[in-house]
């Protein structure tokens, strides 16, 4: 599945002043079938809005999202979204949370149970199938959330800073876990993060966004060979490049007078 984002623009109406606020500015990029692409950018730049538009939770002001050259649509395409805050249903056990999507697809109980159990085994959640989310650690919750998304076999998997609230040990473990999954399932993944190290370790390409309104500063290919070593010189070179791009955009914009300064 090739995801093609072209000319995507998004405005919000500010309610008090009734003035449009630009969030996304002419975003173009492509995620080829089976690729792992990350979007990095300063926090609050509109990365989440971008994902929400692709997921069909919001409408763009202009531009299109194509999946294999057809306008993406919820009715036709299954688009998985892994939320930053896990968003597991607290009233459902691990097993029931993973089964949720299959229930909505009217999969018979026996089948969905065995499918969910397969995920529980391969995701290292054995013994926690009947636990409620409050009893799970952050890393486990996120694994449940990933299982809940993958079990419906989506055409594209969108991930919104899924490891953002985890400690760095757990985070590294889950990054490796995600890479293994990706290599096994050959999914097309679009991954949003503000962590450059994470983007370099995971992705084939990195889309670098400016601060709000977000436009693309550049798109970098991560050429270092897999399996990757986070501390290798190749990885470091890419990190430096991405960080420099972000840094020079930040300093360039801070030289411009801010609106507050004009008022003063």
């Amino acid at each position: 599945m090739t995801l093609d984002i072209s000319g995507l623009t998004k405005y919000f109406m500010e309610e008090k002043t009734a003035t449009p606020v630009s969030v996304l500015n002419d975003i173009h990029f492509k995620v080829n079938d089976g690729q792992f692409v990350s979007v990095v950018g300063p926090s609050g730049c509109g990365k989440t809005t971008l994902l929400r538009i692709i997921a069909g939770l919001e409408k763009p002001s202009s531009g299109r999202v194509l999946l294999d050259d057809r306008e993406i649509s919820r009715d036709r395409d299954r688009i998985g979204l892994v939320f930053q805050e896990y968003a597991l249903f607290p009233w459902r056990t691990t097993l029931q949370n993973i089964e949720l999507g299959l229930e909505m697809m009217q999969v018979p109980k026996k089948e969905r149970r065995s499918a969910a159990m397969a995920y529980i085994h391969s995701f290292g959640l054995n013994g926690f199938e009947d636990a409620y989310p409050k009893a799970l650690s952050g890393g486990m919750k996120q694994r449940v959330a990933i299982a809940r998304t993958l079990i419906t076999n989506p055409k594209v998997v969108l991930m919104d800073e899924p490891f953002g609230s985890l400690d760095s040990q757990t985070r590294n473990g889950l990054q490796q876990f995600l890479l293994n999954l990706w290599q096994k399932h050959k999914k097309t993944i679009l991954f949003v993060t503000h962590n450059v190290d994470e983007a370099v370790f995971l992705s084939d390409h990195i889309v670098i966004l400016s601060k709000r309104p977000a436009r693309i500063l550049r798109t970098s290919a991560v050429t270092c060979p897999r399996p990757r070593d986070r501390t290798s010189t190749e990885c470091n070179a890419v990190r430096r490049e991405v960080l420099n791009t972000l840094e020079s955009a930040r300093t360039a914009s801070s030289h411009q007078p801010e609106r507050e300064e004009i008022v003063v």
Binding site: G56, G80, F83, P90, W91, L100, G101, E103, M104, Y132
Partner: protein, 251 residues
């Protein structure tokens, strides 16, 4: 220290008994604990009016409250879920509800008698009014308090409206629904005595029993009856709480 909780009530009870025995409290106004106990015995063995014994009064009252509460829950919970779900329905109905809600259930007694006559239906209607609004309002606020992210999760899993209703809305608002039911049954039970003022054809009911005891000036039986109402209120609340923790194990 669990026993400490019972120390103060026990001390007060002893003090009360001592003051009553010393005739510092006139028995005509407030009988002593011991007299109330005897009154309780009379209610159980002889009945008030004689022959109409306490257990039957309790059963009839519970029956009326159960009816009023059941109807209140059956109307209040679905209506609350729909009102929480649909902004339009909520906007449409809120003014009516806000107008009717502050009217005390007791103010409905004349209308209740006019509509339902004297008897079980009138009493159940008054109890219904007491229980309905807490159930309705808590159900609405339960729906509104559901994390909006859960609706988006459902959306990204291509949920149909039916799925959203039964897999997000209902379980998500369940804790709040239980709060509403507990408050509702409490208020329903409190309006019981007044509800039985509407007249009791059968000659049974705790409210009726207390009113009869008043008519023949038996303050010991009035107070015993009041205590029975209080104790049963505690029991109902405990039973609902047990039901709640069984159904909402995730909290």
């Amino acid at each position: 220290m669990n026993w400490a909780r019972y120390l103060l009530p026990l001390l007060l009870l002893v003090l009360w008994q001592v003051l009553s025995s010393l005739k510092a409290i006139p028995a005509r106004l407030l009988p002593s604990p011991f007299e109330i106990l005897l009154g309780f015995r009379d209610l159980v063995l002889i009945g008030m009016p004689p022959g109409h014994r306490l257990p039957y009064h309790v059963l009839y009252s519970l029956y009326r409250v159960a009816w009023g509460f059941w109807v209140a829950a059956m109307v209040g919970i679905p209506l609350g879920l729909l009102m929480g779900w649909s902004n339009r329905l909520r906007d449409l109905t809120t003014p009516i509800i806000e107008l009717i809600r502050p009217i005390p259930p007791l103010a409905w007694i004349p209308i209740a008698i006019l509509w339902f006559g004297i008897g079980m239906k009138s009493a159940a209607f008054i109890i219904f009014l007491g229980a309905f609004f807490p159930i309705l309002l808590n159900t609405i606020s339960g729906v509104l308090s559901i994390n909006p992210l859960f609706f988006e999760v459902a959306q990204t899993l291509n949920a149909k409206k039916r799925d959203v209703f039964f897999k997000v809305l209902v379980p998500g608002s369940l804790p709040s629904i239980f709060v509403g039911m507990r408050i509702g049954v409490g208020i329903g039970w409190m309006t019981l005595v007044a509800a039985e003022f509407t007249g009791v054809k059968t000659g049974y009911g705790l409210g009726y029993m207390i009113m009869t005891a008043r008519d023949i000036q038996r303050p010991d039986e009035i107070l015993a009856g009041m205590l029975v109402i209080g104790l049963i209120g505690i029991l109902i609340n405990t039973a609902l709480k047990a039901c709640e923790s069984r159904m909402i194990r995730w909290n």
